[in-house]
């Protein structure tokens, strides 16, 4: 039971990151690798601000820093015309130094003894119920906020940019602007998630962002397997549910010693590979079947 509650809490906190990945990968249709860097950035910012005594402000600071990182990636992609994947890698690499700088040159920072949003909520609602409630509220709030945001004119422009950029330009909208806003939103979510995890674990580690893109993508894909690919609002919800499902699956697989803890990233990568390759594997099988039937017929 503790295991289940723990993974639901983690799932809800990482869900915010999955929302960010959903925005960039699915809505904007951009492979944004900034995520690995902006997750740690959120952690670092949150740790720094929390240690100076402002745990709630820390979340906003992290979100803002993440948005800034997203804007830098957007700048490289649009104005400087650097390939989207490379843009993300460049910002991610640069952020490693930035993150170390924020944490005062140390690779990890402990929050033990300080107050976090979770220690604050435990003062109000004792026990692990408070933590779950807070995670749920934060996650739902983000889904609601983003769901509404994508119904606005700007939100529509972001969706259209991911779908058909040419058409956005011919509707007299500068397609660079939706990219900036979308990447800023996505990375703000990712950084916020980093900040929440930092508070949850009571420490910040500079390398904890590595592989986050893949985990986020795995969550999005699991969510889509459950809900299917539908409207944006359902998509956001399914990404969050996917994240919780992902954590639960991983927790139980670890519990029954299916694989060691260090295998996590490989498993995430495999989930994504399988999910992405499924359609072409299916098509391959179908083609082979057709070929077999065709040869059988010609033999007759």
């Amino acid at each position: 039971m503790t295991l289940l509650i723990g993974s639901i809490q983690l799932g809800l906190l990482y869900a915010v990151m999955a929302l960010g990945v959903y925005i960039t990968f699915r809505i904007l249709n951009l492979p944004d690798l900034t995520v690995d860097g902006s997750f740690s950035l959120g952690m670092a910012c949150a740790a720094w601000v929390t240690l100076s005594g402002h745990p709630v402000l820390a979340l906003f600071a992290a979100g803002f820093a993440g948005a800034l990182a997203g804007c830098v990636t957007a700048l490289l992609q649009t104005k400087f015309r650097i390939h989207p994947i490379l843009s993300g890698i460049l910002v991610m690499t640069g952020l490693y130094t930035v993150n170390l700088g924020i944490m005062g040159g140390k690779s990890n920072l402990s929050l033990v003894g300080g107050s976090t949003i979770f220690s604050l909520i435990e003062g109000l609602v004792p026990g692990s119920g408070g933590k779950t409630l807070l995670s749920l509220i934060l996650c739902s709030l983000m889904i609601l906020l983003l769901g509404v945001a994508f119904k606005t004119r700007t939100g529509l422009a972001i969706r259209a940019t991911g779908d058909n950029e040419e058409m956005v330009r011919s509707s007299s909208i500068n397609a660079d602007i939706p990219k900036f806003i979308g990447l800023a939103m996505g990375n703000a979510c990712v950084a916020l998630s980093g900040a929440l995890i930092c508070h949850y674990q009571m420490f910040s580690d500079v390398s904890s962002g590595s592989g986050m893109v893949v985990i986020g993508l795995a969550s999005v894909i699991i969510g889509e397997a459950i809900f299917g690919r539908r409207s944006v609002t359902v998509g956001l919800l399914s990404a969050a549910v996917g994240s919780v499902a992902y954590r639960i699956i991983i927790a139980f697989a670890l519990k029954i010693d299916l694989f060691p803890a260090y295998a996590l990233k490989l498993i995430s990568a495999v989930i994504v590979v399988v999910a992405l390759s499924l359609p072409s594997i299916k098509a391959g099988f179908k083609q082979r079947k057709m070929r077999r039937e065709a040869t059988n017929q010609s033999e007759l």
Binding site: K151, T152, L156, A157, A160, E166, M167, S170, S171, N174
Partner: protein, 263 residues
């Protein structure tokens, strides 16, 4: 309305692939003009459209739309006053968005300011527009555009191009990818919209008969130049055969284009 003054464009200058796509093209359009453009493949028809839309910047010359010089204006800013329809029905719409959402996006530039993209007033307007197409699309406003047929998509794109009342409409063989019956339908819708709003229009077509039939002016392009520009009585008396003869006499070659021969 539109004024092209000696515009030139050379692709890949200084290389073996150097291609002079537009050679000092000058053209003046009056408001309400409907110009049909003919010419063989590679004559520079689409390049001319690209130059007007700002898909690239021209090497020399200037482009004026209304009273404004738009020569150095980026494409998305020009799009405020220019609607363009491509041959490929897939290009003008966002497939994973609904018909309503597509129209809302195209309408953004002229719609009254509102936070949400979809609202009642606009939806009513979109429904009216769709109903005027007579394709039954007004009852499918929540359908994703990706689920529509090519002809339906092209009709929606046509609405999107004209919804913001552009000063200039560019039609780049916009019916060529459709079957003959749908072609006629889209062409009729086009003429209805254009004549009602009196939009200045340029239409590229490979069908010379249509080119002479529709609009009030026809120009013929070859090797990046306008080689024939007819209107009024001269155009009325022109036949397809005469045009072809003119072309071969003028350019000392046949207007041998399989698509034209078929037409």
């Amino acid at each position: 309305m539109l004024e092209l003054i000696k515009i030139s464009k050379t692709f890949n200058p200084g290389t073996v692939n150097e291609k002079r796509a537009l050679n000092k093209v000058s053209l003046h359009l009056d408001p309400g003009d409907f110009v049909t453009i003919i010419g063989s493949n590679g004559a520079g028809k689409s390049t001319l459209f690209n130059a007007i839309c700002g898909s690239f910047y021209i090497d020399s010359g200037s482009i004026l739309l209304g009273k404004r010089n738009i020569t150095a204006m980026p494409d998305y800013k020009r799009a405020y006053d220019i609607g363009r329809l491509m041959q490929d029905p897939m290009k003008g719409t966002a497939p994973s968005m609904t018909i309503e959402e597509n129209l809302a996006l195209a309408y953004t530039r002229k719609a009254s300011r509102s936070l949400f993209a979809l609202n009642k007033t606009d939806s009513e307007y979109f429904r009216e527009l769709l109903a005027s197409l007579d394709l039954g699309l007004e009852d499918r406003m929540k359908t994703k555009v990706g689920n529509l047929s090519g002809g339906q998509r092209q009709a929606v794109t046509l609405l999107m191009c004209t919804i913001a009342e552009p000063k200039l409409l560019l039609l780049d063989e916009h019916t060529a990818a459709l079957d003959p019956a749908t072609q006629q339908k889209i062409l009729k819708i086009t003429m209805d919209i254009v004549s009602e709003a009196r939009i200045t229009t340029m239409m590229i077509t490979h069908d010379i008969k249509t080119a002479l039939l529709l609009g009030n002016r026809t120009i013929m392009m070859d090797e990046g130049e306008i080689i024939l520009d007819i209107k009024g009585e001269e155009r009325k008396g022109m036949t397809v055969e005469e045009l072809l003869t003119y072309y071969s006499k003028e350019r000392k070659k046949q207007l041998l284009d399989d698509r034209i021969l078929l037409a």
